[in-house]
Symmetry: C2
Subunit: 381 residues, 2 copies
Amino acid sequence: MSTHTTESHAGRFPRLATLLAFLAATPFVWSQHEFDDAADERGPIRISGNENAFGYSPAAMMAMMESLGNINRYARDEAAAFVEAISAKERVPSDYIITTPGSGPVLVMTALAYAAPGKNMITVTPGYLQLARAFEQAGGEVKSIPLTDDHAHDLDAMKEAIDEDTVIVYICNPNNPTGTIVDPDKLRAFIRSVPRDILVFVDEAYLELADGGLEANSMIGMVRQGRNVLVSRTFSKVYGMAGLRAGYGIAPPEVLAKLRPFHLGGPNLLACVGATAALGDEAAFAENVERYRATREMVTEALDDMGVKYADAHGSFVFIHTGVPIERFQARMEERNILVGRPFPPMLDWCRVSIGTEEEMMTFLRVFREIMTEEGRLASR
Amino acid sequence: MSTHTTESHAGRFPRLATLLAFLAATPFVWSQHEFDDAADERGPIRISGNENAFGYSPAAMMAMMESLGNINRYARDEAAAFVEAISAKERVPSDYIITTPGSGPVLVMTALAYAAPGKNMITVTPGYLQLARAFEQAGGEVKSIPLTDDHAHDLDAMKEAIDEDTVIVYICNPNNPTGTIVDPDKLRAFIRSVPRDILVFVDEAYLELADGGLEANSMIGMVRQGRNVLVSRTFSKVYGMAGLRAGYGIAPPEVLAKLRPFHLGGPNLLACVGATAALGDEAAFAENVERYRATREMVTEALDDMGVKYADAHGSFVFIHTGVPIERFQARMEERNILVGRPFPPMLDWCRVSIGTEEEMMTFLRVFREIMTEEGRLASR
């Protein structure tokens, strides 16, 4: 990488050129399921943690492989290049960006920065709890607003819950675990209606997979307009790099200044290099989005066929109304070597199923039909 | 890796076996200086940031390369294996361990957990400031005790500075920037004499490089005895993996419980895998320690020859009394394409020089002699 050539005093491995030539001649296969015929040796089908089963950008892998010889040095150019790539993608100045190992740290840092006894935040239930839990642990109060009948954010009720001690409104969009999204015009109107001293935190971890993607749905434009809004993104989901830990928050500099005392460092050198390369690999991104959408559709069509209800699915998962208590459903699935999502109270006869590979989801659907039939939730065919 | 075979549904790359066979037949060279004959293309000699110029364990590199296909999943087995390896090395139960991206997060988390208006901590000046700065920013007071005449921790003065509002005593051993160490028996006696409600934080980032290494000098035994002591270690220094961000803290579980609310996640999957492999690669570790000590000795012997004073050097750096104001010395070195350490007030006519490769240090010593002569600090030869 050109950014490293000035670092040749570092512990570089001179055979890397040879290695890369070899790799260039070796077409990487982007996901392995078609080769994976040793079914007996497989572990469980893991569709429990919203991980990406398809894989990630081969360009990112190559870039990381090339950087393995540079990790004796701290990330400098690599961290700067990552911020620059985000800045170009999001069209915000670099002082609007904070990079973190995954986006989880942005959620926790925000909670730590804003929580205090007597202060409250607003979120939904069931919703993604990482920010709310840290807020509560730091002494703040969490107001959890029930979802609407179609399992989406109830913006009116959230608005009504705001009082003079509210410091954050948290919106995970699409919502985890339901997968529903908020209409972007309604969300913009909501943000405009919230008192300006309250931070609206929009967690867009899965938004690339929603109909219309970021273009149609992201609230980044509200940040650009100088609103008191923080948008977080991650490379753990559609980009398929959960174990690499790369993510970021975008907000006005005065918001980020409050978070910085709790910042424990950016993504590591390999994560900076890999995420930067992934941002540049539009083909891999497009392939991942397409596979996610197609596989999700395969699942929802099968559920439609069975007459099983599910929430409007815009993320990398489908929230399914099994009608079976989740602990029981989870255990029955695990007996069949399939790990599904944990309980999300109060929707305790629903199950969140992450989108795995096409093959994994076909297996899931077959087992699902059997278990649902045995449970008396489906007529036997 | 056996820990991954149950994960074969993940986005594994099937050609990896071929790749690894190729790599196994390709001896990696552990540091590149002997091959690096394109001197014109080199960047500066970077002996400013206590980075490891020698490189890191080839076994760690291989392990990371093999894991590049698994990063679409969160670190689970990999994180557990890392904790297990630390537990075996340090002979403490796993609930005494907190893993972090480098050891810096342990320092900052401790500051955030213990600091409050009215509380104080004790450290030395010049010393490593990351914990003290975070403590001060969080509203606590920092009492900085001057070093002894031989640039070491003044344990008696630190003891005297303790009052009823003291919550932390921080000892970086070897001290950064001076490189001096504390006699282990004296340090143990000091720890025993400190009121038990005060946390003694022993930062052992460089201790592997001290005479006698960890065996003779580490305070981990005090943790094992249940003392109110936290020992931190990093893979950024002797292990040569600064950009990978792996480190940990060892302390009684009740101490770690205070830190956890500020924890933003462990090292990433590759860092867990790489650091675990590095712990198992005793040959690479021994080679690194040996090269560090030999190169440091080459530098100190040359300084002795020149009659230039330096602090007793036990870390990966030498703190040299140049007699030249540090900004001026730094600038003159940079003109010659050598980056040296920043100012460490109040010792402003001293310079911290990190140990680079043998060749880099020979270049440094040649340039050093020239500049010192021109500055009238050495008689011309």
